[in-house]
């Protein structure tokens, strides 16, 4: 009884995982190429934020390490 249940759930799991084995073909990336699919929706803003973050992080750096919080990194 228990084995049957186990085998059933395993079969179900396998069939679910079958989707993972399929590959997106190189010519099927049209949807992925859409701008709204990008990981970063606003690249300029993201780079600016990162720059500010990095500069501020540098302020609390150790001795003799490059970067003094002047925003020149």
């Amino acid at each position: 009884m228990n084995t049957r249940r186990l085998s059933r759930s395993l079969m179900l799991l396998t069939s679910l995982l079958a989707g993972c084995a399929t590959q997106v073909a190189p010519w099927e990336r049209g949807q992925l190429a859409r701008p709204e699919m990008a990981l970063e929706p606003y690249p300029p803003e993201a780079s600016f934020r990162q720059h500010v973050f990095f500069s501020k992080e540098s302020v609390s750096g150790g001795y003799g390490v490059g970067g003094g919080g002047c925003g020149c990194n």
Partner: protein
Amino acid sequence: MKITALTLCLLAFGSMTIQAAELNTPAPSCRVQTLTGQSGVDPAAFPGKVVYLDFWASWCIPCAKSFPVLDQWHSDLGGRGFEVIAINLDEERQEALNFLQRHPVRFTIGADPAGKCPRLYAVKGMPTSYLIDRQGRIREVHEGFKTSDAAGLRARIESLLSEP
């Protein structure tokens, strides 16, 4: 036991690979509709001509770079038995038409939204182009497109055109 077999079956199906279109073998025949839908085109059905078969899509940035170059070749070398066949792989036909409005060209555009031909030719990246010689054999496979590739490709086409 059964489960193992089933698992193996499913995995095998999921990662099925297809025989690639190889160098120096006859180009596989693959008939598609033209984008306008008025007629059909088969890149392997141009005996005695040198064919530049290009797989492209509207979302592919290097494709946009390649189109003016291909159009130039088409007008320069068309008289010497050179054909450009560009098969579009967009799922939405309108997107291909919009692309062509931005990059107008005069060569033949095929449409294969189902992806039958790229599967047959084992396309690995976009764009991929195949140079088919006058005997109908694939002589070169070119993945991607940079403007700096143009001169080398053109030289290759010219040398294929000078073959019997």
